[in-house]
Structures are given as C-alpha cells and as structure tokens.
Amino acid sequence: MAANFWSSSQCDLLLEARERRAEEASRAPKPKARPRRRQIVLRGVEPEPGEPGSSGGGPGSVVTQLVDYAVLLSKELKIRQRPVLTACAYLWRLRPETLDPPENAVGWSELDDERHITAVTMACVYLACKVEEQPVSADKVAGFSQGLCSATDLLDAELCVLEDLSASLVVHHPIDDVERYASLVHADGEASKVAMACAEETRRTDLLLRYPPHVIALGCLRVAMALEGADTLPWCEQNGVCKEDVKGVCAELVKRCRSL
C-alpha cells in the first residue's frame, strides 16, 4: 500500500516491539520459552534444521516452516507476490500462543495439532489476499490441505488471526522501497534484481518485525551492491540512516537467505 509508513500502525508496532526489547534487556534474563512439545511437520514442507546443539528449534523456526507452507500454497493457487508477502508478515506477527495448540486439551492428537496450525497459516494467506484486493475463494484455499481443514475451519481461523493481529492489516513491504532506492544508489539491472530477490527472501526472517521496511530495503541493496564490489553504507549514513541497523539487516540476510 502506497501510503505513509511513518503514520501507519506498522510503525507503531515497530516502536512498541523496540521498547519491549529494551525493557526485556534491562530486566533479568527470562527463562527460555518452553520448547514445543514436538516438532511439527507440515505436509510438503521440509522442517527447518535446528540450530546445532539445540533440539527442535525455537518458535522462529516454526514460523519459517509456516512461511514455506504459505508460499507453496500461494504457488499452487497462483497468488501474486504482494499478498504472499503480506501473509508472511502476518505469520510473523502472530503471537506464539496462537500457533501453539491449546494446553492439555482433552483428546487433542497430533493430527489436531497439524490441523490447527495449517488452518491458521491458510487463514493468513486467505486474509492477506482479501486485504490486497485479490481475493481467492475459501474452498480453494481449504482444498490445498487435502481434506485436513474444511472451509469452516479456515473461516474460524480467519477470525482468530484478525483478532490476534489486532486488526492492523496494512503491511509496508521493503520491496517497494527497493524499487525506489535502486536508482539512487546506482543499482543497475542485475544488482537491483538481486536486491529484489533478497527483499522477497526476507519473508523467511523476522526482519520486518525489527526494522522499518526502508532499512531492510537498504540492507538488501547493500548486499546486492557488495556483490558488485561497491559499498552503499556511506550513502546510507549520509542520508541519515543508522549504519548499525543496515549492517544488522545485512548480517541477518547473509545468514538466512537461501539464494545468497
């Protein structure tokens, strides 16, 4: 959406998250989050290999899996890039409790677990398509789960997701900013393509929760330009963008992106 990021709800969320992190850092380290009871394997998606030395992987790796699932689903239904990116942003924004199955539910089996998380993922895609004005039918989306979720499950999950996102539905994506800044940092055809690919890959990371989209875009451009032997960092600094932020984005990109 081509509106102003600085007055958006996304900016508020970012500032809130930043405050929360600062608060947490100042307090005594919290006991680590309870690990998931078991690794969830969604149909058709490779589970993320856990960090060496840890078993399973943190809550982040679950979301990465879900993002992959959402991307698969979107490919199948020929959903455009923008709704997919929005859906991934929703997945990252969801509270971990929403993804977690209800605690000690009676008769809750592994299949229910999978159904729950699949429905939530599909609901994110379904909702994002509506928000980006390219709606798809609920039956089609539910059909992708091959009978695991019905359309009713999907619609119930949609309400859940809507509440969990506290109805902030508009997402600003780094991809727009990459286009905008490419010419300014003299990224020509090839480099801007690499930067675009990077920006698309950021859906598998939680960068969007930590940095404003334009900083992520500048990080992508820096990585792309570095492949050509140019450094855009001085340019960023000159234009009042925090150098450390851009560096942080680059580090994360190099670590996480498969295409690099």
Partner: protein, 427 residues
C-alpha cells in the same frame, strides 16, 4: 463483548446491525457494528476488511475512529466512537435548522480536511454522501463508511469498478464507465454535497445513469472538447450524443444557490468536468472561500438535528403520531412533508416517507423537461405534484445507495413483466 454494555439499536447497515454501548472499563459511549458471519461462505466481508484496514491507518479528527475489532460467537464486532447524527438529517431538517454561510463553510472544511487526509494516504473514499458524514455529540464532523474505499496511485493499479458512489454523487467519468480514475471522483461528490448543503435538497437527483448525465449537463453545461479533453475516448461516451447546452454563468449559479461569488467559484472548480483539472482536497482548503468572511462556525456551535440516531427507530410505534403532529404544525405548507424523512438506510417511516420520495421522483421528472433557469421556482411547486400521488416511479425516486446499478432496477422490472405475462397467459 464482556467489556461492553449493550444499549439500544442505532440502525441497520448493509451487513449488520449497529447498536450503542458503553465501555465498562472507561465508561466511554461507543457504537458497535455487528457483522454477521452466519452463512457467509467467504468469511469476513471484503467491505468490512476494507473498513478495518483503512480506519486503522487513518487517524484524523475528521475521520471516524475505529476503537476496537473483536470476534465473538462467530460474529465480528467493530467498535466505533459514538456519533449522534449525520449530515443528511441536518440537510433535511429544514423546519428546525437554518444553515448559515458559516455553518456550510464549517461542514465543507471538515469534509475536505477528512478527505485530504484520506487522499494523503492514497485512499479513495468512493462513497461520499451526506449520509456518510457523521456528526458527533459535541458537533464534530467525521467521515465514515470506508467500505467502498480503495487504494489508488500505485503504478500497478488494475481497473477499478465504476459501481461506486450513490448515483447522485457519481462523477461524470464514472457515469461514462471510466475504469481508471483517481481521488477526483471524491471531489465531485464533495461538490454535490456542497450544492446540497446550500440548496437543502439534492441538486442532481437522477433516476438512472443516463438521466444523471443529462441532469449534470443541464445544470453545468455540456462539456466541450476543450473543457474535458479525452471525454470521447471514455468507454460509453460515444454511445450517447447530448444536446449542447451552454455552461451556466456564475451569476445564474449565484442566483440559484443564493451565495457569494467565492462559493460559486469553489463549486465550479469542484464540479469541473475534466478530472485532471478538478480541484484536489488540499487545493480546495486553500481556496479563498475559507478565508473570506463570515468565518466558519466553530464545531460546538454547529446546528444539530433534533432527532439523534436510534430514536426514530425505537419510537417508531408512535412515529406516525409525531409526524402527524409535525405535519399539523406546518399546515398549509406541503414542503414540510420532507421533514419526517430521515436516513434512507432505515426502513421508510410510513406514508410520510413514501410521499416524500414520490415528490423527489416527480420533481426530477419535471426537471428533465425544464430549462435551467426555471428550476428555481420548481422547488416550491413540487410538493403539490407529489400530493397527486406519482407512485409509479416510487422505487426509482428513492435515495440511491452505493453503486446502485441500473441493472438491478431493470431486472426487477423484467421480473414484474414476467409475472404480468404469466398472469396474462393464465387468463
């Protein structure tokens, strides 16, 4: 839901009921729209999604505030700030309310500020009409109902639908089926609302799209190639040939609206045929009209209609008596027939509403055949015509709703005809 104490119903929207409530945590009065999901096959209505996503981003004093969104028992509830009335009620309450120049100016400025905020966020409202401009308890003026809103201005914009706005407020490029339009369509509607505020009746109440166009051209002149370059290239512009009518002079418009030269200039720039030359909300706010005396009335002093939301609904059993009393008070003046009519989205209230809509229909019929300069006197005459009962055109004369396509009307007529055929063949 447990945080809110439910109050009386305020009205019935297109996809749910709106009721008053009190927030138990803060004691704040709110209005809650319940969106029923019961049989919906496609989950939350796209209209509701649009409303949620735009109102979450737009925080402006002239745009209604969306306080909360929550699901409850498989229904979705949207919590808004509490508003008491709308501009349509003000316009129609001719008997009790006098709108001074400063009042109109204040309303216009609030509307334009709200729209400027929307357009600044690249959002088109696409359903600007008096009914969607709400008035708060202390006189604030706020834009509401973003269900038809749309983001525009992105280079990969695809075609937009033309079935937006209630017909009377639809810009000519929409009537010619242009699918690539911008915020200028909102500005046309603002021009129509401006005219309506000054006239105290809808200025261009067409019964169908074609009539709407001819009304516009009669009132403002048929646009020449110079006035609107590119008009001929619009999809349906070449299908109809309109009689060339000269543009009205500023003096004749001043006479019609009984207003100053600055107001006429603003109106003409808002109702400019060429969308690219039509005034934007920002430009309109800088127009000399807002700088000139008399100054805009402060919010708190703006006139408020006597009947707030919801009361007409709850008192409907006695509504007939109240209206009868009002009619009695205005005895001898048929113009008062209009005063009982309120929001069109509510069920019409008895015969009084029906008469009034009949009036409107016949009024526009008459207007079709009258030269422009005769229109002025006609306002006084039409109620008499309405009294004769032109009920055939009742349906068509009702205040049109968003995207009120002519096709629906035609389909209905076709069904009626089918029934007539059936009856005839049975005989």
């Amino acid at each position: 839901m447990e945080h809110y104490e439910k109050g009386p119903t305020l009205g019935e929207g297109t996809f749910g009921r709106v009721f008053a409530a009190t927030d138990k945590r803060t004691g704040r009065r709110v209005a809650i729209k319940k969106i029923r999901m019961g049989k919906a096959k496609e989950g939350v209505n796209v209209t509701a999604i649009r409303e949620i996503k735009f109102l979450r981003e737009l925080q402006h004093e002239n745009v209604i505030e969306l306080i909360d969104v929550f699901p409850h028992k498989r229904n979705l509830y949207l919590v808004y700030e509490y508003m008491t009335s709308d501009l349509e009620a003000v316009i129609k309450d001719k008997a009790n309310l006098r709108l001074r120049v400063g009042d109109v100016k204040a309303y216009m400025r609030a509307i334009l500020q709200g729209l400027a905020a929307c357009h600044g966020h690249w959002i088109m409202h696409r359903d600007v009409k008096p009914n969607n401009i709400l008035l708060g308890p202390s006189g604030q003026v706020k834009l509401a109902d973003f269900g038809a809103g749309r983001v525009f201005g992105s280079p990969n914009d695809k075609k937009f639908t033309t079935q937006v706005f209630a017909r009377w407020y639809r810009a000519p490029e929409l009537l010619f089926d242009s699918q690539l339009y911008s915020s200028a369509v909102d500005m046309w509607a603002v021009g129509c609302v401006f005219a309506e505020l000054m006239l105290r009746r809808p200025w261009l109440p067409g019964n169908n799209d074609l009539e709407q166009l001819s009304l516009i051209f009669e009132a403002l002149g048929t646009p020449t190639e110079e006035q609107w370059p590119g008009m001929k290239s619009l999809p349906t512009a070449s299908q109809v040939v309109f009689k060339p009518i000269a543009s009205p002079t500023a003096a004749s418009l001043r006479q019609l609206f009984r207003c100053g030269a600055d107001a006429v200039d603003l109106l003409q720039q808002l109702l400019c045929f060429d969308p690219s030359r039509r005034m934007s909300a920002e430009q309109a706010l800088r127009h000399e009209y807002f700088g000139n005396e008399p100054a805009a009335t402060p919010w708190a002093d703006l006139p408020r209609p006597a009947v707030p939301f919801g009361e007409e609904g709850s008192s409907r059993p006695q509504g007939g008596a109240r209206e009868a009393a009002e009619a009695g008070a205005g005895a001898g003046n048929n113009g008062h027939l209009l005063q009982g009519v309120r929001r069109s989205s509510f069920p019409p209230e008895g015969d009084c509403a029906r008469d009034a809509t009949g009036v409107k229909a016949s009024a526009s019929e008459v207007r079709m055949s009258l030269p422009a300069e005769m229109k002025m006197g006609e306002n006084e005459r039409t109620p008499v015509l309405g009294g004769n009962g032109h009920r055939d055109s009742l349906e068509a004369g009702e205040r049109p709703q968003l995207g009120s396509a002519d096709k629906n009307y035609l389909r209905k007529r076709k069904l009626d005809m089918d029934r007539a055929f059936e009856l005839a063949s049975n005989d």
